[in-house]
Symmetry: C2
Subunit: 126 residues, 2 copies
DNA sequence: TCTTGACTTAAACTCAACTTCAACCCGTAG
DNA sequence: CTACGGGTTGAAGTTGAGTTTAAGTCAAGA
């Protein structure tokens, strides 16, 4: 397969595939006439990469997943445990944002809100 | 107050305060000898700005809050409604990530995972 | 006068994950 | 032969929210 075909089959852009190769997430493929030629294993690789991204892993974490020492399941566990903590913290943050957004006040304008916030009075911003 | 004093009182960096002014979030203050001089209202302004950021609003949305037409409470409502939808979507995404991370499989390596994902079989990546 | 410390500016740099661009090469169909 | 539709490269652009840097100004104190 050429890179264009891989792109079409995987739903990624060719530029993204080249980028992944450049940053060490994909092995350098064979070439014919200067062009990259892939066999079907690339599609499995990319499927895992996509799955990992959908789990919230950064490309750096995916690199650890793919290239670090140890059994694959161990690598997954290590990265996953850290990510779950991050995701939970993120959830908590977002819950807090929602709460703050919905806690309304009766100030006439933002300056009044500001003064009340500075005085640590209850205020939800106008 | 000089910008340094405002920075200390607000907990922001002077560079951030200059930046906010540059992008139209703060009015241009009076100057004395070329230096910015603020009165205490700046602190209320910055407190609202911080509160809005803690609600998840982008600086662009804060600009709408501060500068758009209409009553302050209307502006807040308009921006807030949109943001709540975004936050809920984000929550849903994160919940999905957590779920996918925790759904484990028994593949020997990532290539096996990839093949199973491509075949739409149940797989949580190694 | 000299030094110190805080301020000023515009412009460049940061991070992540790509995309876009310019300029070039290569094989095939007409 | 030449046009066309791929492919190739390195470099630069994108986004948001600032930070950092270089080079310069200013007032006060020793």
């Amino acid at each position: 397969m050429t890179i264009g075909e891989v792109a079409k089959r995987s739903g990624l852009r060719a530029s993204a595939i080249r980028y992944y190769e450049r940053v060490g997430l994909l092995p350098k493929p064979a070439r014919s006439g200067g062009q990259r030629r892939y066999d079907s294993r690339i599609l499995a690789r990319l499927a895992v990469l996509e799955r990992a991204k959908n789990c919230g892993f950064t490309l750096d974490e995916v690199r650890q997943l793919f290239n670090d020492q140890g059994r694959p399941s161990e690598r997954w566990d290590r990265v996953a445990r850290k990510k779950i903590v991050e995701l939970d913290a993120l959830m908590e943050q977002i819950r807090g944002m929602r709460e703050r957004i919905e806690r309304r006040c009766s100030c006439a304008d933002f300056d009044e809100c500001g003064r009340r916030i500075l005085a640590s009075e209850q205020c939800g911003a106008t």
